[in-house]
């Protein structure tokens, strides 16, 4: 591969990786919000567990999930600076259960596929 092709390849790799991760991020977020957390603590926790999530992606995602009534939020103003805490709603809990089952099914099948050569 020459330089040009290498750059093209790297760009494709980056896009495909992003695409692959994008779907899993929602599940990761839902799984961490069984107890209330604010945005940045979520970024840190996911990061510490090897799930890289950019704040610029995660914050809008949290709002979207709230609009879909999977999360609810409350502003915590008693601390030195106000923080918005998110937590799963009843609907969100059901969704988490269903998506978890889906994820297990996918991983099981994918592992099978990838193992076969």
């Amino acid at each position: 591969m020459n330089d040009q092709e290498q750059r093209e390849f790297d760009k494709n790799l980056e896009n495909l990786r992003l695409e692959l991760r994008r779907g899993t991020l929602v599940l990761g977020v839902l799984s961490r919000l069984q107890r209330p957390q604010y945005g940045y603590s979520l970024v840190e926790e996911l990061g510490a567990r090897g799930i890289a999530a950019e704040a610029g992606t995660l914050y809008p995602l949290l709002r979207r999930l709230e609009a879909q009534q999977l999360l609810e939020s409350v502003w915590e103003t008693s601390g030195p600076k106000p923080r918005k805490y998110y937590v799963l709603t009843a609907q969100g809990k059901v969704m988490l259960g269903l998506l978890t089952a889906e994820w297990q099914e996918i991983t099981k099948n994918m592992i099978g596929l990838l193992r076969e050569e």
Partner: protein, 336 residues
């Protein structure tokens, strides 16, 4: 954070939230302020950290896009090709139409110098192109909005393979050249008819020129907007034909009903407005008498012109309607 950093942070937040709906702005501002403060705290050098944090969050416009969660565009991919095609057709026709009408204008009333003429041509072309561009863009933007509105409201609509239309026979396809030619003609007609009052005014300035005007100028100016309306309706029909690209029943019904409106207006203009100059018959009779000695015949023919035009319009409309109905109902049958 120092004041300078605070300023930069506020500027960043403002750049994000100004692109969001008003109701969300305060909430997002608070959230982002908390986030940025938290992120800068972790950095090694607080004074330098903010820059890094903002770079990590990225371009404010992109961040706002993520918050909105939707692509914002005026004209989407569904209409974009058609939009470009129409722009090209109209630009071409407007250009030619303007040049012709200005050419006639210059012939009647020669400009003071070449520079003046050139200035007029450039100025008029520029404003005509700008207008055409604006109107086409607005029309397509409205089409796009209607499309997304339909998508949003018809979420329950289930697409069914049984609804797929038959592949049209070759003979049912409308060749693109047909609506394009009509559009070019309509734009030319539009340009010429709208510069008529101007020609007449200029021609009247010169007493040595005998102006025989079959129309009453005052009435013509009053109904000019109606004439333009029929041109616009006819253009809409051609756009729709270009968009469908094949004779179908809905297309036939749309064009027949739109044409009925345009026919109604045309008949009103021809028969109901007193637009025809009653003296014209006399003037032309005089002229004909002088030239060929057949004045009264010409006068009589002239008085029948409105009726003839009206009959021709109705007959034309009838023939076209029958034609498009026949095509829609017969040509669409699949080839078996």
């Amino acid at each position: 954070m120092e004041q300078k950093q605070l300023d930069m942070m506020e500027r960043y937040i403002h750049e994000v939230v100004k692109r969001l709906p008003v109701a969300q702005r305060e909430d997002v501002s608070l959230e982002l302020r908390g986030l940025i403060e938290e992120m800068t705290k972790d950095g090694p050098e607080p004074s330098d950290a903010l820059r890094g944090v903002l770079l990590e969050l990225g371009n404010p416009a992109d961040l706002a896009d993520r918050y909105r969660g939707e692509q914002r565009h005026l004209i989407g991919s569904r209409f974009y090709d058609l939009y470009l095609l129409i722009l090209k057709i109209v630009a071409f026709a407007v250009g030619i139409g303007m040049l012709i009408s200005m050419g006639i204008g210059f012939a009647i009333d020669p400009p003071a110098s070449f520079a003046v003429a050139l200035g007029k041509v450039i100025g008029s072309l520029f404003s005509a192109f700008a207008q055409a561009f604006a109107w086409i863009t607005v029309t397509f933007a409205i089409m796009e909005r209607c499309q997304s509105f339909r998508k949003a409201t018809q979420e329950e609509f289930v697409w069914n393979p049984d609804d797929l239309p038959e592949v049209p026979r070759q003979s049912a396809l409308i060749p693109r050249s047909s609506p394009i030619a009509s559009l070019v003609f309509l734009v030319l007609f539009f340009a010429v008819i709208n510069s008529l009052p101007w020609f007449i005014r200029i021609a009247n300035l010169d007493p040595s020129v005998l102006v025989l005007n079959p129309l009453v100028p005052a009435v013509f100016r009053r109904v000019l907007w109606l004439i333009n309306l029929t041109i616009v309706i006819d253009m809409c029909i051609e756009f729709v034909r270009l968009y469908y690209g094949v004779h179908t029943k809905p297309l036939a019904l749309i064009s027949i009903s739109l044409k009925a409106v345009s026919l109604g207006i045309t008949l009103y203009i021809i028969l109901g407005t007193g637009i025809w100059n009653p003296d014209f018959a006399y003037q032309i009779g005089q002229l004909a008498q002088k030239e060929f000695g057949a004045g009264t015949t010409v006068g009589k023919i002239w008085s029948a012109v409105p009726t003839i035009l009206a009959v021709l319009s109705v007959v034309g409309y009838g023939a076209e309607s029958v034609g498009s109905i026949w095509k829609a109902w017969n040509l669409q049958l699949p080839k078996r």
